[in-house]
Amino acid sequence: MTIQQMAGSIQDTRDNIGSRDSTRNPILKRNAELIQIEENSTVIKTNTIGHSFILGHPTNGVLGTANGVDGEQIVLGEAGRSGETVVRVVNPNNTFREHFRDDDFIDTGNSTGSLNTTDKSATTTVDTSSWGEIITLS
């Protein structure tokens, strides 16, 4: 290609480019939304039948003469049970996250701060504190 041809080619390119493009590519707003399912800590409890009557149970299913598994006279209904005792608290992937959505794990005996499960917040001021309770038990 001669110099004259090159100059002509450059001129053609300039002609084709023309004036500066004034169009704009629209920038679309995209909401990056993520639906999250969070598994919270699992609580496992036991409740010993004590001396409550359990139909068909080898010990607590016999009224009158036998004693319940706790050694006391069997009664009808729920009355003779030990009551539920927390034996395990299992945190998914060994991680406990407190979102203040409930007060299940708040140590109400020692906490003096305030907890708001509606706003999902805990407020502590000078000389107050909030404590977690049994957040892990295995």
């Binding site: 909401n31 990056a32 939304e33 993520l34 639906i35 999250q36 399912i37 969070e38 598994e39 919270n40 800590s41 699992t42 609580v43 496992i44 409890k45 036991t46 409740n47 010993t48 039948i49 359990i54 068909g56 149970h57 080898p58 010990t59 598994v69 539920e84 034996v87 395990r88 299992v90 998914p92 979102h99 959505r101 295995s138």
Partner: protein, 114 residues
Amino acid sequence: MILDIGFNELVEDVYDDISNGEAGTSTTLFDKNQTGVISSIGSTDIALSTKVLATKRINATYVLDTTLANSNTVTEYEINNGSIAYNRCTKAGVAKTSNDELTMIHTWDFQVII
């Protein structure tokens, strides 16, 4: 944008779908590729005791009464819809006897993050 009513419908669908729990004795650590309890204890695939739908939260309670899983050390359990397990929870074993009931309370929270 995901609407609140659509999101609530999704949570309700999960709530309506879950129905059962099942217990087992495997000590294998959980992994997302698993399909449920690994060493199932017979007759423990039973209906949930209760399930509660709250705002963006599902609470499911599974109870092994005095007749179930006796003489087993329960180490794992799942919540399922009758066939497909939603989760698998593993824990240090709890010895189950006919003298006690074992209650497992599970909670899931749902939220949309923008």
